[in-house]
Subunit: 291 residues, 2 copies
């Protein structure tokens, strides 16, 4: 089966942009040309590839073809760039990064790569569960994740650990922990979770109290908002050391009990100088920032 | 039709927690009790309410019932709290907030409310498109949004405007704008977008160049990461004044052309002292932070 490069590119654009119209704009063709290419590709493959919803999504079969489309597009971009090093042709690197890495060490790490390579970053912010899905379906080429098992078709390496400390404001500690953060006090003091998938606070609680407690919870799904919520005394929560530094003016619940979250770099198995350079930059950035 | 309060509460917990098992844990009942209550509620209403996927989602009919469930739960919580002001009973306020408000003025505004009221915040971070969907389906009671048309069942009021400025690093300006940010230079200099729904940079470009240009784009979906990306010279982008302050050390593309994004407060029409107090706190926080 010989698939059409233009059709693969069009398919990827529809999924990236979310609609046939937006894909048409990006590719500088008409929406009806987009529609024809997708139909032709689906006939060739013998499966429906695109769910016609808003935003458009790949079907299960579509995901397999999408991975191929991304890899081909990437190799094609790199080949063109090496043939014409002086044109404005740029390569796009789609990556998924966990929120706390994105808000701390990731941008400085990526900035190392930008000057010599003509590269654009298409970053996605997702928790671990979704980040492996994005890798599997071919939406991203690499991930910073706490999942150590390699996704099919990917290699994995350790980046280091992000250290978190359980912190609260001075006023919060005075009000809720007059006798220190006892198990009884922690059962009723408001706790901060990033979202419903955030297990970090619960893990600290289990280790600290040695029993199951269910304190009232706020949900604050933003790295700097989460840090603000600790500083403004809405609740206690685990903050990355990279965020707070040492001079944070906060009260630590148990200085003997930091939590280290190991992070991994998963990337497509693909001979790609750019992906190799990116891996080098991420590795170096992680070595400086993580433990 | 008399709906069962416990069943409504169970239904809301399934949607909030994502699975029957997680809802069971929250409610301290067994998963099979959750399943029975949901089935009974579906029979009573005569419609399927829950899509049994991971995470569980409300069907179209489910969304209508969910709005009712949230409103009843909220009124019930408030009533209990006013009857027993000294118990640990707390009310949860589910809100959706746009990313730049969440990372700047929102937490200080919410912190005004916390001491006197026993209240927990269940914050969602979503762009405008999704935030009205969350209001409509009853997942949240109020929203900070740039959508001025009231969602059905909601009231709307103006909060003020968030002022953005187009900024880049000094090195970026030297490299890409040696003759200033001309239309030609802006057509090829890398631009930063938050995600594919972010129209702010495109809007600035249209106003500034007076024609359609399609520069290469990075996507950086995090407020502090976006600001980092500007500072590290990955691209130019619009930053909220609240983020940067005036002493930001960055180059402004056109000081005469800031962009003001009006923000609105949409909330359920519901007689609720807590929602009224929240509205007051948000209004006051916005008045100090916004224009």
């Amino acid at each position: 089966m010989e698939l059409d490069l233009a059709a693969l590119r069009t398919f990827a654009a529809v999924i990236d942009e979310g609609t046939f119209e937006a894909a048409a704009r990006t590719l500088h063709i008409t929406p009806s040309a987009v529609s024809q290419r997708i139909k032709a590709l689906e006939q060739q493959v013998g499966r429906v590839l695109v769910q016609r919803v808003k935003p458009a999504r790949a079907t299960d079969s579509g995901r397999v073809v999408l991975t191929l489309a991304r890899q081909v597009a990437h190799l094609e971009q790199e080949t063109m760039a090496s043939l014409n090093p002086n044109t404005a042709q740029t390569s796009t690197l789609p990556l998924v990064v966990n929120a706390d890495s994105l808000s701390t060490w990731m941008i400085p790490a990526l900035a190392r790569l930008a000057p010599e390579h003509r590269v654009l970053f298409d970053l996605h912010r997702e928790d671990e569960y979704h980040s492996t899905a994005l890798l599997r379906e071919g939406t991203v080429m690499a991930a910073v994740t706490s999942v150590s098992e390699p996704v099919q078709g990917c290699t994995v390496e350790t980046l280091g650990s992000m250290r978190y400390r359980a912190l609260c404001s001075r006023e919060f500690a005075d009000h809720w922990f007059p006798d220190g953060p006892t198990a009884e006090a922690l059962a009723v003091a408001p706790m901060l979770d990033f979202d419903r998938k955030d297990e970090l606070q619960a893990r600290f609680l289990r280790g600290f109290t040695r029993r199951r407690v269910h304190p009232p919870r706020h949900f604050v799904p933003g790295s700097s908002a989460f840090s603000d919520a600790v500083h403004y005394g809405l609740g206690w929560g685990l903050l990355p050391e990279l965020h707070t530094g040492s001079d944070h003016g906060l009260v630590e619940l148990d200085p003997a009990r930091p939590i280290d979250v190991p992070l991994y770099w998963q990337r497509w198995k693909l001979e790609s100088p750019l992906l190799t350079a990116l891996t080098g930059a991420v590795r170096e950035g992680a070595r400086e920032a993580l433990r």
